[in-house]
């Protein structure tokens, strides 16, 4: 559950930023959210750990369809993918030349998180029981998410930095208690482009 929650934050914040232009407020954010049918992007993730002198770098990509399908994939250094289609969740990792299913599946918790994503997607942030939120017009425009009690054991603060180009995220910063943090930079973001439904079905 916690693992997927962490992942969902990455995904949701990226969608969130994709919906925001340069002069938005929460009302325009809700309005913009209505027009998103799909998102496709690549990302570079930098994981800063106090134990390491250099950050751990990961690269990946994701696909989202507003009908409720999601593919969140790491291409390196550990190739893995999460596929969500409707209420079905599948996790795989790539080893010895083949995709292998992960030991755990956690269908119910993922379904719950999907519901949370959908709600945020519709701009209903004020309904979240997980985060308090703040919109800063910038520049650059930022969305700041502060977890409520419980989740704050794992995440201290999330900051979404928006690009000057409407609908495009620049990066997401996730801070954890104890000084570790994660930075995710998005690139080649495509809003409402078309892609094969197979990306949600096969690893």
């Amino acid at each position: 559950m916690k693992r997927f929650f962490f992942l969902s934050i990455l995904i949701v914040t990226s969608f969130l930023s994709a919906a925001v232009g340069s002069s938005q407020d929460w009302a325009s954010l809700k309005e913009a959210s209505k027009n998103i049918r799909s998102v496709k992007a690549e990302f570079l993730q930098k994981r800063y750990l106090q134990i390491l002198t250099k950050p751990l770098l990961s690269e990946g990509r994701f696909f989202f369809n507003a009908s409720g399908s999601l593919r969140w994939e790491y291409l390196s250094p550990v190739r893995s993918v999460m596929l969500q289609r409707g209420g079905t969740i599948q996790l795989y990792h790539f080893s010895e030349g083949v995709w292998k299913p992960e030991i755990t599946q956690a269908v119910e918790s993922r379904r719950m998180v999907l519901f949370e994503i959908s709600r945020w997607f519709q701009g209903r942030f004020d309904e979240s029981k997980v985060f308090r939120n703040l919109y800063s017009p910038g520049p650059p425009a930022r969305v700041i998410l502060v977890p409520r009690e419980g989740i704050d054991r794992f995440i201290q603060r999330i900051e979404v930095v928006l690009s000057a180009r409407p609908g495009v995220i620049e990066r997401v910063e996730i801070e954890e208690p104890g000084g570790s943090r994660t930075s995710i930079e998005f690139r080649n973001v495509e809003i409402n482009s078309s892609f094969s439904p197979e990306v949600f079905e096969k690893p």
């Binding site: 559950m1 916690k2 693992r3 997927f4 962490f6 992942l7 990455l10 993730q45 994981r47 750990l49 134990i51 390491l52 002198t53 250099k54 751990l56 990961s58 790491y74 250094p77 550990v78 893995s80 990792h93 080893s95 292998k100 299913p101 992960e102 030991i103 755990t104 599946q105 956690a106 269908v107 119910e108 918790s109 993922r110 794992f154 954890e176 104890g178 570790s180 994660t182």
Partner: protein, 218 residues
Amino acid sequence: MIRRKGLDTCLLGFFILFLGCVPISETTLSPGSSDDLPDCYVIFPAGPWESVHRIEAIIKGGASSSLIGVTKGEPSERRLQSLLLTPEGFILFDGELRGGEITVRKAVAPFDSPAFAKGLMEDVVLLFLPPQVRPTTWGKAADGTRICRWEGPDGCRTEVWESKDRGWRILRQDNQGKVTREVFLKGPFVSGLAAHMELRASKPASYRLRMTLLQPSP
């Protein structure tokens, strides 16, 4: 809740599945000289180091999971810090071994039990730290395999094997002479760390850890 159950199942896989251990007969050695003694330590990093490994954990039946292992070591102090992360970067476990004591900084279920912390740190020690004492025996077997043998006060034994055809191995035996851990190391060695390692555990739980070095740093 279902995820929790899934992880619990994983934990059960690690800690409940027993396989029979295989007793091995003691290999007769032609004793080595004191000049050969440093060879007993070449597979262990000598100075401070940190590393990132891709870990594929495989339990009985072939089910597997991918993790990232981050380890930092200070051999002179026998100090190790070890983190387990999901591929997304979420920390599942963060523990430190210092002065023989284990401190768990962070652990989420099902990685939050003392048994898990103890087992994980014992595996990390086996992989990266040589026994504290001088080997009791070292030398060559009849087939040319070089073997270093450490006898513990509890009757357990650690051996390091090097053979031309099978590379490096670390064996851990219990006081019945049964192999409970076997580690296969494959080069090249980068900053004293093997590029590939596979740990096969048979007691008390049966599992395999395939580790690939992603990021070494002296």
